[in-house]
Symmetry: D2
Subunit: 146 residues, 4 copies
């Protein structure tokens, strides 16, 4: 397992490795009129998927082929300042820690007007999808995350 | 702040305090055909909101009145075994830790057929919504969580 | 094709054939603080899926087996009165019209306090999922909808 | 009311007036591995909100001010060909029909590889949000939609 978590400080300060700009959507807020907290993890999932596409790893085809999966073992987020409908944000991958069969990805959500809105991290385990059993991280996934 | 996190072991073993039964919906899975991981946090948010309703705290009215909010400072989940469309589950609140201005809630998602699917925890900070500044946990919220 | 649409009046008046009670969730509203309109169609999808489960049709297994699909050809909703976080509602299937290769389902969302919130209808086409080509409605699906 | 619906043919052929490119996300599909049908309406809502932003109408501020709302009276979509995770699409506003107190907007979702995936339309009623009562379409909203 990839044991060592990123500290919140690391995630707030590390340079961006890959990022997407987006806007908090009309339907991403909740009845308290701030970002519904699981949506921050959706944003992190989206930039993670975008990274794979940008690096030429065809995730849709890999899922169709069906051999390798990278399900989540853990996800977490710290909410630093609230986001509201219309806020322009950048969602960045800021850190990666590779283990043997699993890897950890760190994220940061920053407001276009400045200031960190949230940081987070996910731990993914590489599996053989037929047996749902751990396998070593395939080379082409190592390459995407390097 | 409520510093001490629950251990995964605590969340897996603690008795349920309040629970909802539900089914993994047709649109809760992702392209890998297992539960999209932020949905587990949606399930936890839903049981948290249901607890308030069940204990007679009118959250919709409190949000309209607009004085007190309990936004998230932190959320996390550990994914123990995958969930698929149609799986019958129970989502339970299994632990609460009350601080002065914040509190921590622990959750467990269990399959109806047996076995833990996920555990998680959220940290909420009580705020004055007009100033978005921390305040002591109001008595009626202490009562709900006690 | 199943050409004749249900009128709004039909859907408002027809008796319920199958219904689910639910509550408008914290994260089902949008930045205008009323139900985000596609959520009404999610509610309709949920009661449709629940009908299949209640009638003993194992939709998850049918999707795994992979032969028959019933994708949407059309969906629509009329919004009669706004729904807000916490509103108790009933989502009902109130009408079904069976064609040869497609069928139409009518829905009504009613507030527990009385009054119609929305009506809607969906047109589903039975297909062979491998070819994505229309096929006659299988008998076990006719039985569910009868 | 804005009575005359757009025909499917009109929506398939009309030139684009305003469009967004996006990709079908990992979590926009359902257990049948095609786009969950209410998501098409989310896409339409997103491009509608983006139009307001692009034309300088500050929807977040207007909602805070709280006077004018444009809730949905009706929404519908026709699904022409299935969308899958990773599909590159363009979501366009292709038609607008202005009434006195309401307006109708037409949409088309096109695959980057060619071919219409879906068309849709929404009817919005301008209201005074305090009374939830219809009002004439304000000039600044007419300007956005012109």
């Amino acid at each position: 397992m990839t044991n060592d978590a990123f500290t919140r400080d690391e995630l707030e300060r590390a340079p961006s490795r890959f990022a997407e700009r987006r806007t908090v959507r009309f339907h991403d807020v909740d009845a308290a009129n701030i970002l519904f907290y699981p949506r921050a993890l959706e944003y992190m999932s989206d930039v993670y998927v975008a990274l794979f596409a940008a690096r030429g790893y065809d995730l849709p085809r890999a899922l169709d082929a069906g051999d390798v999966g990278v399900p989540l073992a853990h996800a977490e987020a710290d909410y630093v300042s609230p986001l509201r409908f219309g806020d322009a944000i950048e969602v960045a991958i800021v850190a990666v820690r590779l283990g043997t069969k699993s890897f950890r990805v760190g994220y940061r959500v920053t407001k276009a007007t400045g200031g960190v809105a949230a940081v987070g991290q996910t731990v993914h385990v590489c599996i053989d999808r037929k047996r749902f059993a751990p396998i070593p991280i395939p080379d082409e996934i190592r390459r995407v995350l390097a």
